[in-house]
Symmetry: C2
Subunit: 154 residues, 2 copies
């Protein structure tokens, strides 16, 4: 069985999962601390999507810790198929959430210049939250590509 960077049950996979959870949680935290985010559907969707990402990545991080402790091999077709589906779904949702929020943030900051005229809009927090969401997506994209590769080469 091939062992790629991010293969399930390895230290690299655990680090990837912890990174995904950390950046997704940071994205949620920064967005929730901004004022008026709940008015905008895209920002609420970002929080929901990043929440799902935290749950999924933390679950798989726990599974990686278990596999590393008991030296269990997680690379069987059934497990990897499940990881592929979960990773591809959460990766797509994360990118969709990051991009829709980025679209709204760019609209506020550059197109209608609301950030400079409306003092109660936390534009900088929106930008930080969206950046964290993009980092989360980059990490989950790495995981899902590795999982698909492993499944195809089984």
């Amino acid at each position: 069985m091939k062992v790629l960077v991010g293969s399930p049950g390895t230290v690299s996979s655990l680090l990837l999962r912890l990174g995904q959870s950390l950046f997704a949680a940071a994205s949620i935290g920064v967005m929730i601390s901004s004022s008026g985010f709940s008015t905008y559907t895209a920002f609420c969707y970002l929080i929901a999507s990043m929440g799902l990402q935290v749950l999924w990545s933390m679950g798989l991080a726990c599974l990686d810790v278990y596999a590393l402790r008991v030296k269990r091999d997680l690379q069987n077709p059934v497990s990897v198929s499940l990881f592929v589906v979960g990773d591809c779904v959460t990766a797509t949702l994360s990118l969709a959430a990051a991009c829709s929020s980025a679209g709204v943030t760019v609209l506020f900051a550059r197109d209608v210049h609301l950030c400079s005229t409306e003092a109660d809009l936390s534009c900088n927090r929106y930008k930080i939250s969206v950046s964290c969401a993009f980092v989360t997506w980059a990490l989950i994209a790495q995981s899902s590509t590795v999982m698909l590769w492993l499944l195809a080469s089984m």
Copy 2:
């Protein structure tokens, strides 16, 4: 060599490429015909991304026609690697463009109710254009998954 639905040099691949080009061109056409789209960065990005998608998909459709006519096998590692990179990049850009435009459209229609108050906003055209972009993404996602699968199983 495996032959999956969407494998390069097959009729299913040609149909997928033509579908991608058609929906991407429709997305561009509807967006360009709407009023005031150029004010918004997300809509301009949608046009650029769908334009790139048309070029890429039409190019590969021509290659499929050539392969079908001369019975040429396109499933070698070098060609498939190139298709994987192009498909993954254009799929990511298409989803990003569709989602950022969807975020802005939902903002106009549901969050700030601009569609009902501003008569010069072509909200219905924005929605149709974004829907076409999502269909384009679904088709290119199918192509890129098949290409990655083929490359991994070579």
